[in-house]
């Protein structure tokens, strides 16, 4: 369980760092910080809920997916500035929220594993991340992309969502094969979580005061 706990507590590292860097941040970085703080609160609330009630914390997972998706959309909206029309972002936000509502209230409900909705989130965010990398290549302005917040954020999301995609897309494999298989595969998710939050921390380390 050490790996799973590490994955759980590592969320605190970028969240604390974000608080220290808040004054240096631009608008999209501040939105990202809000996401990190939400993740910490949501994870701990879900953990306490499970400890107190002995029930699954999937409702917290559902809320987490929606909030994570919407805030990341907002972050990328700022990163793309004017190059993607506002309407596209609105459609992406409302469309996903409607599917999320349908999944929660008419599909599996709060207590089912949010597989499809998470897979959909992964696909949309992977497309956005790929588009951002293409934008970076097209603009030809950043000589050291590895020294920017935006690069590490996109790299982290690309690694996490591509690595986890099988887990989101084929959950039956994991859920029907028994507890041991579930735990073994969940460790992969934990490793990817640790990787993601480590990369988020690196991204925040590159937050610098912007000169006007």
């Amino acid at each position: 369980m050490g790996l799973v706990y590490t994955a759980f507590f590592i969320t605190l590292v970028p969240a604390v760092l974000a608080a220290f860097k808040w004054r240096l941040m631009q608008e999209h970085q501040r939105w990202f910080s809000v996401l990190l703080w939400f993740i910490v609160v949501n994870s701990f609330a879900g953990w306490i809920w499970t400890l107190q009630t002995g029930r699954s914390n999937t409702p917290f997972f559902y809320v987490y997916i929606l909030v994570e998706y919407l805030i990341l959309l907002q972050v990328y909206r700022f990163m793309f500035s004017e190059s993607i029309k506002k309407q596209i972002w609105v459609i992406l936000a409302i469309g996903f929220s409607v599917i999320w509502l349908i999944d929660v209230f008419t599909g599996k409900g709060w207590w089912g594993f949010p597989d499809y909705i998470h897979a959909l989130e992964a696909v949309i965010l992977l497309v956005i991340v790929a588009k951002w990398f293409l934008k970076m290549l097209k603009e030809k302005t950043v000589l050291h992309p590895e020294k920017t917040f935006e690069f590490w954020l996109s790299a982290g999301l690309l690694l996490f969502f591509s690595g986890n995609f099988l887990l989101f897309a084929f959950p039956k494999l994991m859920l029907t094969a028994g507890k041991e298989v579930f735990e073994a595969i969940w460790k992969v998710n934990a490793i990817l979580n640790i990787l993601l939050y480590t990369i988020y921390t690196v991204a925040l380390l590159w937050v610098k005061r912007t000169t006007k």
Binding site: V142, L158, L159, S162, A177, V181, L192
Partner: protein, 267 residues
Amino acid sequence: MGEENNQIVLIFIASAAFVVLMAILLILFLVIYQKRIVAQENKLQKIENERQQVLLKATIEGQERERKRLAKELHDGIGSLLSGLSLTLKFQKNKQTPNSEEAHFFEETCRLVDEGIEDMRRVSHDFMPATIEEFGLITALQECIKPVNNSKALHVQMKIPKTAFPLPKNVALGVLRIFQELLQNTLKHAQASEVVTTLEFHPNRFRMLYTDNGIGMKAHEMDSHGIGMKSIQSRIQAMEGDFSLHSENKDGFAATVEVPINHNEVS
């Protein structure tokens, strides 16, 4: 765990690891590719800047050559013609009965021609001050401020160090033109009573600090849209120097010109 479950876990882990590895390789490729194309872009930009620099230098040199030619044409051509005309008119005037209508006519005509000669000399001198070629920057600057100080409209003070040395011709001419431009701005817009110019001669660079005590410039007037400012910036760029302005409303105006000196160009 059963054999089948082991296989499921193994396949899952292997697939996830493969995908992550591919993502890492993709990210590495993006970083390397981005560095390459940006470096190439910067190199092209540098070449383009150098080309622009050469073009700018050539344009300014061409302008100065043309000014010199015009100054010579004015001085030697029209100037000689007007001097001859003035002499003839004076000769004719002396032949007239004093205080006659004709004598007054010739006297007035002589005065107008002399005024024309003086104006032509001034224009010719502005086109190409002979002093800068013969005596260098400092004498040319002093000559430039003499009429302003004589007019009492403005007091121009020039602080020249004892360690001053001759500058390359292109730098001297560039600095003189910038000074003329700044002085014109002060005269036209600043409502100033005093200008102080300090010259600094360092081994490898020259610096001129120009200040006036006028009404200053608003931020939007300091941009590069004015022809005068554009001309200053072009000359600074051609000399590969630096130019900075500082101005607060009603708190005067200050400009700093800094240019590198290549001693091989001193002539």
